[in-house]
Amino acid sequence: MATANVPDYLHPDSIRTGLSRRKMLDQVFVIVGLVLMFACLGVLAVLFMNLVLDGSERFGWDFFTNFPSRRAERAGILGAWVGTSLIMLVTAFCAVPVGVAAAIYLEEYAPKNWFTAIIEINVTNLAGVPSIVYGLLALGLFVYQFGLGQSIAAAGLTLALLILPIVIVATRESIRAVPKSIREAAYGLGATRWEVTKDHVLPYSTGGILTGMILGLSRAIGETAPIITIGALSFIAFLPSSPITSEFPFISFQWLNDPFTAMPIQMFNWVSRPDQAFQANAAAAGAILLGMTLLMNAVAIWIRYRFRKKINW
């Protein structure tokens, strides 16, 4: 018979069993993939629930209006959230203009040469530098060389450098998404490069820039290591001086030089105490911190989605 010369593995039966085995492996992989994926997503839920449950007894108005205390049930996060808010103000104020300007330069102005390549490589590399190294940089440069001391200004600048690559990359992407035809139309009418950028490219890329800014700040808000390195105090029972004063000129920048604490520092301080009662404080602070981070990310995703939907080239 003709089939006698056919090797075993080409026999219809063995092909069929091989095929069904391969199809089964396919199904097994689908299940493994789904399980792992949902396990990871489940961890996010477990993480949040864990914090909320552990910290449940601390949630309350007092927690936000009390300073840290030696008694766990009376310790609050007043100094921490005020500190974090002020640091974020400094960070946003420094990182956003510089980051957006650098991105505009790289996308719209920079000639294609080795010099531009150096800037680009630097941005990429900075994104991969461990955050604690930024803390060391800030300790040597801001705290001692510039004499800023262990202040809100030093912390804000440190985090600004840390998120600069995030802002630059996000802004570049959204600028790149603006079609060339729009630029060429404006150039055709005699606009200069800056006019094209300011009046046409930037308005269209606002969504992407906002997204990058919020994502950068959400990274900065949770960063602990660099701020510890520059010497944040974890026990602070006073607030930085107020930015608004009753005397002329009504605005004061004294707060920039004040010592501070921040949310993640406060949480770390409570976590590392041996007294179990403080773990609840840590969990409550963590829940608030995580809640803020997730909220900022959600806003960023929403903005990206809205702007994408609104613009049809």
Binding site: P130, L215, L289, T293
Partner: protein, 310 residues
């Protein structure tokens, strides 16, 4: 005359207006370039600060002691300056983290890129990225209060601080990075290669493993390197869950300080500027940067060697 009236009435087209606009353009460009240079100066500043402070450190400590001594006790009366225990701690937590992150991240990436529907992918990816946005101090709390007790149920003799739980949580933390970068790399493999494979009768899994993964290998290597850099530089999780006692061991069940945890420990105290303890954190930071650099160089050469051009 009509023409002069027109030019003076609209200074956008007048010659002086044009000159003004061109000068403004140059000024703006200078400012933008200055902003771009901030990135270059940051890198330079990092290098200069780490090198100068480390140089001061190595005036007191010989390089030989630094690299061969197996004790790290710079703040004790009997000071030893051997970096090996800290490097061992860093490598151990990193390896534990990679054992979790590489397989899990790659499988999720393969699933999302080759099996998942468009809608599932677009829904899951942002949520997965949220996992990468969680503050690391929160992960540290999770490792100490949830993962360690869980592990202690399986291994009763496990101490409260251990590198195993810290490493596992770091692994979990870098899964989104690995998955996201690998998925992008696999999606860049052209469609016709998959179709060729399907036409030969391969299943989706066979296509994924034998065509797509080899085709995207350079991208996968980049993803792993990104994960390694993250794990090496991770600070808060190890500082909270792995303990801060330098311990020359590669056994993940023990407690040990990493390079980053040591820097945190010193920073928590109040060290005078210019003291040997102060300088030692910069030397530790320099070693951290060198380790990151070594992995990046390896990654870069891998990426070049296995790059597929389509």
């Amino acid at each position: 005359m009509a023409s002069t009236a027109a030019t003076t009435s609209n200074d956008l087209v007048s010659r002086s207006g044009l000159r003004y606009r061109k000068i403004r353009d140059r000024i703006v460009e200078t400012f933008l370039l200055a902003a771009g240079l901030v990135a270059v100066f940051t890198t330079l500043a990092i290098v200069v600060i780490l090198l100068t402070e480390s140089a001061a450190f190595f005036e007191h400590v010989s390089l030989k002691d630094f690299l061969t001594d197996t004790m790290w006790t710079p703040l004790f009366a009997d000071a030893h300056y051997g970096i090996l225990p800290l490097v061992a701690g860093t490598l151990t937590t990193t390896i534990v983290a990679l054992i979790v992150a590489v397989p899990v991240g790659t499988i999720i990436a393969i699933y999302l890129s080759e099996f998942a529907s468009h809608r599932l992918r677009e829904t899951v990816k942002p949520i997965l990225e949220l996992l990468g946005a969680v503050p690391t101090v929160v992960y540290g709390y999770f490792a100490l209060t949830a993962v360690t007790p869980l592990l202690q149920m399986l291994m009763p003799e496990l101490p409260g601080f251990n590198m195993l739980s810290a490493g596992l949580v770091i692994g979990l933390m870098i899964v989104p990075y690995v998955a996201s970068v690998s998925e992008d790399a696999m999606r860049a493999v052209p469609r016709y290669m998959r179709e060729g494979s399907y036409a030969m009768g391969a299943t989706r899994l066979q296509t994924a493993l034998r065509v797509v993964v080899p085709g995207a290998f350079s991208g996968l290597a980049a993803a792993f390197i990104l994960g390694i850099s993250r794990a090496v530089g991770e600070t808060m999780v190890v500082a909270i869950a792995a303990g801060m006692q330098p311990n020359f061991t590669f056994d993940p069940r023990e407690q040990a300080a990493t390079i980053t945890a040591y820097i945190v420990q010193v920073s928590l105290g109040d060290l005078p500027h210019g003291s040997i303890g102060y300088q030692s954190i910069f030397a530790a930071g320099l070693v951290l940067m060198l380790i990151t650099l070594i992995f990046n160089v390896i990654g870069f050469s891998l990426t070049r060697k296995f790059r597929e051009a389509y």
